[in-house]
């Protein structure tokens, strides 16, 4: 494919009907895809911000390779960012995209199967060289054959247009081409009728020290925008304006799960009146929490990058012992390493918050892809009878509330608490109504100041394990006069905390630790869509909230008697959950694992919960869930539940994960714990 000099003619191929002037849809899914060096995540992030500023509701799905700089132009080096936005409530990053921006042949190859038939694909022809086509394993050129027949195509030389646009700034060819993503963003801004000013301002800030780079990027942005205006007359490009969504009045911002967890932890520590100590070790996708908190020292936050995952949790526990709120965070492999120290926190009954941003497992698994497969690990995964509370966030903004709740439980019950998020929640952004801290309920921590017990002679003595009404022992800071005592991981006497292996004492302490966690006050389970009894309950937890909620909504619109129940408190479970589930003829539990929460529900309630599993590293799509719900109403017995296969339309795209063996592994740069 020859590259065109600007201004190129618009090229329209295929037999799909061109978009006609029609009413704007209430939601649009756009996917930006390119080489991992093309800045697609940044493009997506800035487009997200502009979407939020336009008042649309939105959800995003960033997908990028585990390799930091995968070889250019290869299938496994493709990075993509999907956003679903609209003038109605948006709960997922969307199923199939309406618009695909493909910056090179590999991006097209990987992402084209996802595009809706009749959808619009925007292509940078400048990258469709033979060399790049070979890297993408195209025998022919998809621009010249019928590969794109089903779609509307806008193919033009974005590379050349960008170089032309930034010419006045005297950049080298390489630097000039780096402005391509801004050109593309400019075009996208035009397509959805967005102002450029916030982006221009952002670029000026970002390149404060390099005004020529800022100016070049702004020129590229403006040129992309201008291109849209002139191109409109000629091709399938139509400008769409999606009016703002109806939202609760208030101040909004976008937030990712990693940001929300960090902010929630800061809020939680403030509500407890405690300094926060965060021990972490770099791991994908959890490191962002460490990065955020490292910048919040003025909030009494100490971050400690430890030598390993074990040291990270042990230091956090040491800080809790010394009176701070200890927090640690990781993903599955790191959480596994922290397990023994969690047992110590349970045994010594000290507050500790452990955040697990789950990723595909086992072992190193899928570092940058999402999964919900650490539920057993969270609930059961320790030696001995070692109960602790587990909370699961359903969305980026929900992670804020969950983090506060985790802090509260840890402090009020003197226990480690696990907060589960996942790679999807950690990276995805959504609009968030900024809460007013004045509305939060404080839970001030108390450190014991004087002896709390009586000895046999009636004299004052210290009982480090004397429990309060909640079953919690006192928190006694070293440095407090007169309250010296010893604690540790060895079984201890139920009052004095001294070593005590006696049978009756171990029985009593095992019971006390179990009862304390089981008796934690957990709000009653609510039904988030549909009736509180009926034919089918779809029960989810964590980041499956969005697709389940939409699928249940659509099923109900079709007249199906189905409800959505989404559980935040994984352990202990809400007291009413068993009765609630028994009110339904059938229970379906969709999970991005092989059925872990389903097993927990069956075990706890003896309900015949059916599992719907998906373990391809891809979130559920709404359509997949809708179909699974439908099978409960189709009169065909025995076809309910099961496994959702990998979805070629979805991110991560099926081609992108291949290691084709073309490139020797040692040519790749690896980083951190990703590999």
């Amino acid at each position: 494919m020859a590259t065109h000099a600007a201004p190129p003619p618009l090229q329209q191929t295929g037999s799909a009907p061109a978009a006609t002037a029609q009413a704007a849809p209430d939601a649009v899914v756009v996917r930006f895809a390119g080489d991992s060096g093309d800045g697609m995540q940044l493009t997506g992030g800035q487009f997200t911000l502009s979407t939020a500023l336009a008042g649309n509701d939105l959800a995003t799905f960033p997908d990028f390779p585990a390799e930091i700089r995968a070889p250019q132009g290869t299938l496994f080096g493709v990075s993509a960012f999907q956003i679903n936005f609209g003038s109605r409530q948006i709960n997922t990053a969307g199923d199939a995209p309406d618009v695909l921006v493909a910056m090179n042949p590999a991006a097209l190859k990987v992402n084209l199967p996802a595009l809706k038939p009749g959808g619009l694909v925007i292509i940078d022809t400048g990258e469709f060289t033979r060399r790049n086509l070979d890297k993408a394993k195209y025998d022919g050129n998809p621009l010249d054959d019928d590969t794109l027949a089903k779609y509307q195509v806008l193919a033009f030389d974005i590379s050349a247009l960008t170089v032309e646009a930034v010419k006045p700034f005297g950049l080298g060819n390489k630097d000039a081409l780096r402005c391509k993503n801004m050109w593309t963003l400019g075009l996208a801004l035009w397509m959805f009728d967005r102002p450029r000013e916030p982006l221009q301002e952002w670029l000026r800030q970002k390149f404060r020290g390099k005004p020529d780079i800022a100016a070049a990027n702004i020129a590229a942005l403006d040129a992309g925008h201008a291109y849209g205006e002139t191109a409109e007359l000629a091709g399938p490009l139509r400008q769409l304006h999606l009016p703002p969504v109806e939202a609760e009045p208030g101040l909004y911002r976008t937030v990712t799960g990693a940001e929300a967890v960090s902010l929630g932890l800061v809020a939680g520590a403030q509500l407890a009146g405690l300094p926060m100590f965060f021990g972490g070790y770099p791991i994908t996708p959890a490191s962002a929490i460490l990065h955020h908190l490292a910048r919040l020292k003025e909030f009494g936050v100490t971050t400690f990058q430890a030598e390993d995952e074990i040291a990270a949790i042990c230091a956090a526990l040491g800080a809790s012992y010394a009176g701070s709120l200890g927090v640690t965070s990781s993903s599955g492999p790191g959480i596994a390493l922290k397990t023994e120290a969690m047992g110590l926190a349970i045994m010594t009954e000290l507050p500790l918050v452990i955040v697990n941003s789950q990723r595909g497992g086992p072992s190193t698994g899928l570092p940058t892809k999402t999964e919900q497969s650490d539920l057993y690990q969270a609930v059961y995964g320790r030696n001995g009878d070692a109960p602790l509370p587990v909370i699961a966030a359903r969305s980026p903004s929900d992670a804020f509330d969950c983090a506060i709740e985790a802090c509260r439980m840890a402090v009020e019950y003197m226990t480690p608490v696990i907060l589960l998020t996942d790679g999807y929640i950690a990276n995805a952004a959504e609009p968030w109504r900024v809460p007013d801290p004045a509305t939060f309920t404080p839970f001030p921590a108390r450190h014991l100041q004087e002896k709390n017990g009586r000895d046999a002679q009636g004299g004052e003595t210290l009982h480090p394990y004397q429990r309060d009404a909640k079953g919690a022992r006192p928190w006694i800071k070293p440095g407090t006069p007169g309250l010296m005592h010893r604690i540790g991981g060895i079984e201890k006497h139920e009052l004095t905390g001294n070593i005590d292996y006696s049978p009756a004492n171990h029985q009593a302490m095992t019971d006390a630790r179990k009862r304390k966690i089981e008796d934690i006050a957990v709000p009653d389970q609510e039904v988030c869509r549909g009736g509180s009894s009926g034919a089918l309950a779809v029960v989810g937890w964590g980041s499956t909230y969005g697709p389940i909620h939409q699928a249940v909504g659509r099923a109900r619109a079709r007249g199906l008697d189905v409800s959505h129940i989404h559980v935040r408190n994984i352990w202990p479970l809400p007291a009413n959950l068993g009765d609630l589930l028994r009110g339904f003829d059938a229970v379906l539990v969709p999970e991005m694992n092989t059925g872990q929460f389903k097993t927990l529900l069956r075990d706890q309630y003896l309900v015949d919960a059916q599992s719907l599993t998906k373990t391809s590293g891809q979130p559920f799509q709404i359509a997949e869930l809708e179909e699974a719900i439908g099978r409960f109403f189709d009169g065909v017995p025995g076809n309910e539940g099961g496994e959702v296969p990998p979805n070629a339309q979805q991110l991560p795209a099926s081609e992108s994960g291949h290691d084709d063996g073309d490139t020797p592994r040692d040519l790749r740069l690896h980083h951190g714990r990703d590999n």
Binding site: R253, I310, Y321
Partner: protein
């Protein structure tokens, strides 16, 4: 050491009501007494003192000291102690560990607590054996050690605790042994050092590795086999009645110490070096001296303070917070925001 007001205590004040459960004759008893004898001399306040340990015989230590105590998990005491010091730098932290706890399962944490220079006293009881698990060879066991897990003799090369500590970047390295009358002086020096102070204490495991240090620790002939180091003093050992005073001279050609006779007490004439606790090269030579051809160097081998980790963390936090308002409301509303429904921005 911390700049706290000295508190008057006696040895009794540092004893707990817990029955000490080490084997009869264990070297740990002597170390416990030495520590309990030292703490009053330091003016330590039991309420401000924390003993933190890992797992093993030595790690039962905190239960027997009337202060705050945390018996943690195997090898992880340095990490727990680092968290304690970062949360409250004013606490006076003693870390008690062993050769298995500190150099095998916890070797990584030992490396990092030393290189970070977290201000605490680290007492590593080295008995060259796993005692609590019934006598397997440890990372410091000598080659050929017969044990339940090495019935025909271990083939591992042993780790040298003081060489490890120095290599990790420790700014204080000292040595003593359980029944030595000098042990309290070593502990006092460790406490006076601001930063991570590493003390290897040879400890006699009477059940599984009895008298393994007898060749230098035995009272008989001790002066010939022990080199007690003192800053600014010549490195001398032996005595006239045992065959002559000797000293360590430096052989520049061989880049090594050599043992020289010191006739008539004229150590200068014999070329004996003066110990300099700030000389890191000298410390490296001392920790590598093979026992046998050389005496066992004991006391403070190296003491050259550097800024502590927790002071740097506190200073950085203060500097980063300077002039910044810790407003949660402002933090939550940071970045680009928009309003819905006419609420004032």
């Amino acid at each position: 050491m911390n700049d706290m007001t000295p508190v008057t205590t006696t040895l009794k004040d540092w004893e707990t009501d817990q029955e000490v459960r080490w084997c009869p004759g264990c070297g740990d008893y002597a170390i416990l007494k030495a520590v309990q004898r030292t703490l009053p001399q330091l003016g330590s306040d039991p309420a401000n003192t924390v003993f933190i340990s890992g797992i093993g015989c030595s790690s039962r230590f905190p239960y027997y000291i009337e202060s705050y105590g945390f018996h943690t998990i195997h090898g992880r005491a340095p990490a727990v102690a680092t968290g304690v010091k970062l949360a409250n730098p004013d606490l006076d932290v003693w870390l008690v560990t062993g050769d298995g706890d500190g150099l095998s399962i916890g070797g990584n944490h030992m490396l990092h607590v030393l290189r970070r220079n977290v201000n605490m006293q680290i007492l590593l009881f080295n008995n060259e054996i796993y005692g609590l698990t019934k006598g397997q060879y440890s990372p410091t066991s000598r080659e050929g050690t017969r044990s339940p897990s090495s019935p025909i003799g271990s083939v591992d090369h042993p780790a040298k605790p003081c060489a490890f500590a120095l290599g990790a970047g420790a700014r204080f390295v000292a040595r003593g042994f359980d029944v030595s009358k000098n042990l309290p002086d070593v502990l006092i020096a460790a406490h006076q050092h601001q930063g991570a102070a590493f003390v290897e204490i040879f400890q006699n495991c009477v059940v599984y590795n009895k008298d393994v240090f007898e060749d230098f620790a035995a009272p008989k002939g001790a002066e010939d086999r022990q080199l007690w180091l003192a800053d600014g003093e010549p490195m001398l050992f032996g005595s006239e009645k045992s065959g002559g005073v000797k000293g360590l001279a430096f052989d520049a050609e061989a880049l090594a110490f050599r043992v020289v006779d010191v006739p008539d007490g004229d150590w200068r004439a014999a070329g004996v070096r003066v110990h300099d606790v700030r000389n890191r090269v000298m410390a490296h030579l001392l920790v590598e001296l093979p026992f046998g051809p050389y005496p066992m160097p004991l006391g403070v081998l190296y003491d050259d303070p550097a800024p502590t980790f927790e002071s740097a963390v506190v200073a950085e936090r203060a500097a980063a917070s300077e002039g910044k308002e810790a407003s949660l409301a402002k933090l939550l509303a940071k970045g680009q925001t928009w309003t819905v429904g006419g609420v004032a921005d």
